[in-house]
Symmetry: D2
Subunit: 336 residues, 4 copies
């Protein structure tokens, strides 16, 4: 931590700051500039991060030098992590494609979707059995019945199943049916849920929060790893900005940022990221070109009768054609 | 809902849209403009809100006319709600002041804080026993031990106790010790937690999410009311913007918006809203002048040794002086 | 400037950084932490601010310690500035109220507005003769004809005239008719215009840009002062966020921030800041309670026939009643 | 325009709304829903867009159905526009690569940069002679001397020259030396400048404003086209969000949006878009995969001694290698 003293700080102000640092078992380094004195704090990262120095008189501002996360950082583990989901690898040059309907509605709908995404080259079936919805009056999902359908559809088609978990008490239940536990954007900082999925050994797909910084996202992942579960896949799904033409602003530079800061695999969800099915195609291509390890795409056999997010779901035909283009980009990326 | 057809939409496109509307038991109204046909959908609000019309060919965009929330709306209940917390009223012209440390650290610290906020005119003691922290390595709170201290300090000083709940399984536990259950910003869309506090009958303080729209905030409150708990107090605590000088951007126009759209009382937290103790004073005054029903302010006997958020905590002396100014503004507001 | 070296930086990387600093006539201070070496750069502020250190291998990040602006800073001039507009003072405890229609439409409309805002306690008449509009097809203002009307209405009512300037070539023209030159939000970083109004000696009202940080805003003011014109009044008018209920998010904490960082007076425009006439009242009160030196409010004799921004304009009756409340808050502020 | 009446609106309120519509020469369509009456306004787009209906009592909100821009819309011109810059085509499947230093610093620097970007496959040389800088104390460019160098370097290497114009009075001057006039992000709504470049016949590169919506961006382009200059190239360069790891958030979905809404070519600037040279590579690839017609990239022979934006400039070696990857993606796109 760097502490910048105000130009009007007194010697006594500075003395109190120094005493505090020493009292915490830390040391410091002084640097006098033209108008301001700067104090560099040296020592244990966790102790430093607990300092509340702006509360001291004469302190103008403080600057954190290092991030608080550790296990997720590339500094800690330089090589890319590969998450093994029952034999299907995510990361390390493997293209993970998770596709399916927003919500599980019926066995027929799900199976039809599963077969078409399988045909299009997906290796994961996605679908929500528990839906976190803005309004209490919106469709909330089929719960355990939906989980059973997912498992059955996954087994019939040979697809791994990824589904959202919204309740800390449902970890065991969801683990019975799913191959990957998805923590949604609205729960990215539901720390109790993060700890609970961290205590399971299932792979976790952690979506970025609606307005989470990259640092907060990696700290959220750190909660999971710090409980002993290293099988974490990150998923960029658009952030909230002032732009209203798209539902969210898909932040593909976050893919590059995660690759720089962390060893974890990262995929992209262009369906939620844009909220418009017409935009899934170009953004799916762009995500792969940006270096993403995979995609999560909403596909519904009949989007116009979907119970949720039909507006952003692809038809089976469109999904097939999007995947053709994605594979061309993926091939171009291999040869780079 | 208003459906705007694209200028290139065919008769067949339009026909499918109309058929869908009718098949849902709704009716429609047509309006042909210079370049676009507009379809107004009429009927049950819940059915309309489930329509996914952008998935239809030929649909350019859709516009939602009414909000999904009902119980929280002023349309549903025109008069201001007053929440009774064991005899202390929030809303309806009563000034609620909730003050205390960010986190409960020890009985001494808490009691010292409680006595000074009582002296300054607070009627609620705030303090966290469970702290949702960005990093797993930051101080996470004293848990039940902290709750016990809160209860004891509240009883000794005659202050009502408000504390954050972060775990759906801890509702009964927190209800044993607290007078108001606080749902924090990061959990504003933790719908399982909203339902759980909705099933209790304790008053709930619902903070606005970091990037929640006013509509999403009111829908979150609707989750609580729809479970039968009408004792909800809203709390504006700053939203996330591009500005970095302040920790968040305190959105005081949200106070005016809530007063227009809802009957629920709303208070303001200038401590989290700005993240700088120097700014608590002007923003506390401004909040009351904007029409807020109260304030939530962090006060720590010794901010420079606080285990969390010392940077934004007032000393007892400053709190006293801020309250003097707040009372002058409150008095000016009465006479308006 | 603080330079944080990457944990993988080599001695050679560090050497090149040090050499660069020395070659610029600056000195440095080294501080070795647990994982990273930190280099503090000392010397002339302008030279330091020109360093591009992130371009060097082994540099993880750089942190700017001081702001680039100087003349506008409270460090440079500790006492509040008071801008004298032909005898009417802005700042220093004087309440400046600038009111009138968004656009000048006719002499009748303007005079009616001027008389009513005068009666309500305004000391400035505002009105646009040149309107910067999002679309080229919207009403662009009456140009010089509008300026003449403003001058006449100002003289008849004894109000000072404030009007927007959008063209670097129109400085002399606008100076002939107006008492204060307004630089609008869209032109806050039109540096040629800032320099031009800086070369005039007219007082300048500088609105904050739609997404300008406080630092950028003060740097924009610095452009004006650095040309020799110290008569600058700042105006907060709402920033762009994700919230759509209001046209912009009025950032009243910016008032407190400006008071801390600068000596310049600052007023608030709740009309543009909210975009809803119903919200002007609470936000005008809150602005004064936050410490603003004045208000800019849109008033139109007949908002429903206004050629621009009728949605956010007050009727004369509402303006009068808003001012009554504002004066009560202003009085409460005096006695603090 | 759709006008949504409040549930408490009276018959008289409605009558006044209807009368206003008729008095403007427009007609209307009524639709009574369960709780609200909706009025659809029909007639001339420009007249409708001038209506200020929220100022009327009983009006809850209004919804604009159509965009105000016309000439830039795909509705107006369904086929992609191709801008011919002295024989070099932008749009229509041609890859435009504009590269060079942020600012022109000397003939040697510029020529070295020009030769290397030419070798890497660029067809345009970019470089600033007039630099809009946040602080008045930063390097402001070499002015006409810089323009001359650009022209000379362009002629020597066979590259077209693109350079920023910041002053409405400098159009003739810049036209003498440059092939494309760049309007920068900070001037996107400097309407006087837009009109001035619209009156010239030079191709214009219009960067998206820091917080401009896609609609505002296209309206800004409309200003240029409406003056008779149809040679407009759009450039996405990152928008301002809460994320601080990157300088801006590059919004690649804007590329897809522009392709849907407009016929104009659009390129992407990953250098300003990210502010980090390490991210230019993945974002350049992603931009092309998203469907962009080209790239604008900062290249400096020696980024560590650049006078501006060295932090985001590529070395010649890196540029060459980025272009190799970009060409692979471009080839994959052709075959789609």
């Amino acid at each position: 931590m760097i502490i910048i003293m105000s130009p009007t700080a007194t010697r006594e102000n500075l003395k109190k700051v120094q005493d505090k640092i020493v009292s915490m078992g830390l040391t410091y380094h002084m640097s006098k500039g033209a108008s301001r004195t700067i104090v560099g704090v040296i020592g244990d990262k966790k102790v430093i991060s607990s300092l509340q120095m702006k509360a001291f008189d004469g302190v103008e501002k403080t600057v954190q030098i290092t991030e608080k996360y550790k296990l997720v950082s590339r500094e800690f583990k330089p090589n890319d992590s590969v998450v093994n989901v029952g034999g299907v690898l995510v990361g390390g040059g493997n293209l993970a494609v998770m596709a399916g309907p927003c919500a599980v509605e019926s066995m027929e709908q799900l199976l039809e979707a599963a077969e078409c995404v399988k045909a299009g080259g997906a290796n994961f079936l996605r679908g929500g059995a528990f839906k976190p919805r803005t309004s209490p009056y919106d469709f909330q999902g089929l719960a355990e019945q939906g989980l059973k359908m997912l498992k059955e559809a996954g087994e019939k088609t040979g697809l791994k199943v990824v589904t959202e978990i919204v309740d800390v008490n449902a970890v065991d239940l969801v683990c019975k049916y799913a191959d990957v536990l998805q923590v949604g954007a609205r729960n990215m900082q539901n720390f109790e849920l993060l700890k609970a999925v961290g205590r399971s050994q299932k792979p976790v797909l952690l979506k970025r929060g609606l307005s989470a910084t990259i640092s907060e996202w990696l700290n959220a992942a750190e909660y999971i790893l710090s409980e002993g579960n290293y099988n974490v896949i990150l998923c960029e799904r658009g952030i909230r900005t002032y732009e209203t033409f798209t539902r969210n602003t898909l932040d593909l530079s976050a893919v590059a940022a995660v690759k720089e800061l962390s060893h974890l695999p990262v995929i992209v969800d262009p369906s939620h990221g844009t909220g418009r099915w017409q935009m899934v195609r170009p953004m799916a291509r762009a995500a792969i070109a940006a270096g993403a390890d995979g995609l999560m795409i909403e596909v519904h056999p009949h989007p116009e009768i979907a119970l949720s997010d039909g507006d952003q779901s692809l038809t089976p035909e469109n999904f097939q054609s999007v995947m053709d283009e994605v594979h061309k980009i993926a091939k171009a990326m291999e040869s780079k």
